[in-house]
């Protein structure tokens, strides 16, 4: 995964220009499990410009809903996510289009910190907005919509006359070794990703959009997630995952348009034109066996990741951002960073990149085992899943030592629609 040359180069940039670590780290997703957990390096993140990072602040914590691309993808990860996967129950194109129009209007209002619908109400009617976000700041709310394979064809039916617009990349992910997927955490016709620095604001967004969809779509599964808040993390360090390890991730530089076009945004020649400016989103609900991890000896934990826990440094190095030495041997002549360690495997040959935007989750207790149901809501964006996520996950599912401590319970793929302008609506290029 890691591009060593780039990493080294940018590390020197870091030192010479004193780019603040905060700015670098703010753009990384939450901890990521699997390849997913603890890919090393901060490569692509280092050249971010300050303008991008402070955008939210200068806009008073508002991120525009309208734009060439949907927000919530290249956007710096907010503290919280509320994710919902829905199945459509509408049976005609006209109602589907109306749903996208209504969603667009409501989303634009909510991302500006406004209520859904006009305020003056008939006292004999329920209020249009559900109300729990009244008086709250927009909190960098972003709302991102994606469409799953089922929109184009379900049980052989060309339900909305969209079958011939289905991109060949948009199909259920292959079964990876060790997958233990459950229907209740998998798939969906449409997804809504609401991210905000306040969970109540994020939940309010999904709640109102699901309400608007009532009779047209039903929830299939939902998941909330969190990262440490910026208030708690005063030193602005790399977020730690629920295994306690720092999880700096390699991501394309979200401020580098060329890199984003290469790695994340679907280009006009890539397939059906309607998705140009959009991206493919992969979602995996990865349960982490934290009780098992907690009784694992420190050295074993560190060998699993290939990193030291406290400093976050690669094994054999002092600091988090030191380059790993994959050839270094220990006193016994063994590779210091084990062959099946997560970091080494995740590193691969560095040819595949994905834009990670993962969040930890804690969903109470697993009633069957009495253990925590906690883990990672892994989300990544890419231009072509067949060339990016899928080969990476195949490699990790086969060998990663971390697999002893994790299990993939949920999986979904969506085509995130391109952005829209004021007056337009999300999904308009489809129809």
């Amino acid at each position: 995964m890691e591009n060593k040359t780039q990493s080294n180069m940018e590390e020197s940039t870091l030192l010479s220009k004193k780019v603040s670590r905060r700015n670098i780290l703010k753009t990384a997703g939450a901890g990521s499990v699997g390849m997913l957990i603890g890919a090393t390096g901060i490569g692509g993140l280092l050249s971010l410009s300050d303008t991008k990072i402070t955008k939210g602040e200068t806009m008073k914590d508002k991120i525009p809903f309208y734009g060439k691309h949907q927000a919530g993808i290249a956007t710096e990860a907010q503290h919280h996510i509320y994710f919902a996967s829905l199945n459509l129950t509408v049976d005609n194109r006209k109602e589907l289009i109306q749903l996208f129009r209504d969603w667009t209007e409501a989303s634009a209002a909510m991302t500006e910190g406004k209520a859904v619908g006009d305020h003056a109400g008939n006292p004999f009617l329920p209020p249009k907005d559900t109300g729990e976000a009244a008086g709250l700041a927009a909190s960098n709310l972003t709302i991102t919509f994606g469409v799953g394979p089922g929109l184009f064809e379900k049980d052989g039916n060309d339900r909305f006359g969209l079958r011939n617009k289905k991109p060949k990349e948009l199909k259920e992910l292959p079964k990876f070794p060790l997958d233990s997927l459950e229907e209740k955490w998998s798939g969906g016709d449409i997804c809504i990703q609401a991210c905000a620095d306040d969970l109540q604001v994020a939940f309010h967004a999904v709640r109102n959009l699901v309400r608007i969809a009532r009779g047209k779509a039903v929830m299939h599964w939902t998941q909330s997630g969190f990262q440490r808040t910026k208030q708690a993390d005063t030193k602005k360090e790399t977020p730690r995952n629920l295994f306690g390890f720092k999880d700096g991730t390699v991501n394309p530089n979200t401020n580098n348009g060329k890199e984003m076009d290469q790695q994340v945004w679907v280009q006009s020649g890539d397939g059906p034109g309607w998705l140009a400016g959009g991206t493919y989103m992969v979602v995996r609900r990865i349960q982490m066996f934290i009780e098992v991890w907690d009784r694992t000896a420190l050295r074993e934990q560190e060998n699993t990741f290939g990193r030291h826990r406290d400093s976050g440094a690669p094994i054999g190095q002092k600091n988090e951002f030191d380059s790993p030495d994959y050839n270094k041997k220990d006193a016994n002549g063994q590779l210091a960073i084990p062959i099946d360690s997560h970091m080494r495997l995740a590193n691969g040959d560095g040819s595949q990149q994905i834009l990670r935007r993962a969040y930890s989750y804690a969903d109470g207790m697993d009633p069957e085992t009495g253990s925590f149901d906690a883990g990672l809501l892994f989300i990544c964006f890419q231009r072509n899943p067949e060339k990016q996520f899928i080969p990476m996950q195949h490699r990790l599912a086969k060998m990663d030592k971390l697999n002893e401590y994790t299990v993939h319970k949920g999986s979904a793929i969506f085509a995130c629609l391109p952005g829209t302008k004021k007056g337009g609506y999300i999904g308009e290029t489809l129809f």
Partner: protein, 289 residues
């Protein structure tokens, strides 16, 4: 009945004025009601067209309560004469009349628990009515010892019949009643909690939906003037619910709740949500919008 309705009942009493006949209310309460009647918050939508609608609904609800008296007679007689099979067979169909007319039947906060409380809703000593007998019939498989509850139930239902005569049906009662009926379904019927021993919840479910549909049908002409698309949407959602319910019918009988699969229960629940959301907009007929 459920808890939600327990605390809603007093409000309904305020909304529906002039129910004093047959009610053991003090004069203080009566005068408080008169005062509240004049407050703007309680104001009724001044739409003459709705007068005919409320009169029609009153007729419908009274007919349902009338039928409830007859069917309760049949049920309680079976219990009293020890005919357990007949008692079981008449239990669910009898209740349907009550469930259809619930917006009016539940106005009487003192009678509703006596007739329809579930175990735990009221102190054990005060627990009477349909569900008390239901427990005897299905859990203990007997009518013995339940004759007194049958006797009491019949008395309470007669009293209800006398009292409903006094209810003034207002447009608000209809508007909130329609959605409340579906909320009843969402919170207790679809969960299988209403008829937890007989598992005949789908009968109550269907009856609540029919009661809501009646209100919709009565308000439909006024609704069509305001928002034709909304009216059509509501009609379509009712049809969706009925088509699901019909899938769970064997001849004239509904399946028992425990025969439903989890996905089927979820589907029923979601169909009620899909109906109740547009139905909650029927308040636009009040003319304030």
């Amino acid at each position: 009945m459920n808890n939600m309705n327990k605390w809603k009942a007093p409000l309904a009493i305020l909304l529906s004025t002039n129910l004093l006949f047959g009610c053991a209310q003090s004069e203080e309460n009566a005068s408080a009601e008169k005062e509240s009647k004049g407050q703007p918050a309680q104001a009724e939508p001044a739409d003459d067209k709705l007068d005919g609608v409320t009169a029609e609904y009153r007729k419908y609800a009274l007919a349902e309560i009338e039928a409830f008296v007859t069917s309760t007679e049949e049920f309680t007689n079976a219990v009293k004469s020890g005919d357990i099979e007949k008692a079981k067979a008449t239990y669910a169909p009898a209740r349907m009349h009550y469930e259809r007319a619930e917006p009016i039947a539940e106005v009487f906060g003192d009678l509703d628990p006596k007739i329809d409380a579930r175990e735990g809703d009221v102190p054990e000593k005060e627990w009477t009515g349909y569900h008390r007998i239901e427990q005897g019939l299905w859990v203990e498989n007997t009518t013995k010892g339940y004759e007194k509850y049958a006797e009491q139930l019949m008395k309470d239902v007669h009293l209800l019949r006398a009292k409903v005569e006094t209810v003034e049906v207002t447009p608000e009662l209809l508007i909130t009643g329609a959605v409340d009926l579906l909320n009843e379904v969402s919170t207790s019927k679809v969960t299988g909690e209403e008829d937890r021993y007989s598992h005949t919840d789908l009968y109550d479910f269907a009856a609540n939906v029919q009661g809501a549909e009646k209100i919709y049908e009565l308000l439909k002409p006024a609704l069509m003037e305001k928002d034709e698309a909304l009216s059509e949407d509501i009609r379509k959602r009712f049809d969706d619910v009925y088509s699901l319910l019909n899938q769970h019918k064997k001849g004239d009988a509904y399946k028992i709740y425990t025969e439903l699969t989890k996905p089927e229960v979820k589907q029923l629940s979601q169909s009620i949500d899909a109906l109740a959301e547009p139905l909650s907009q029927i308040g636009i007929v009040t003319g304030a919008s």
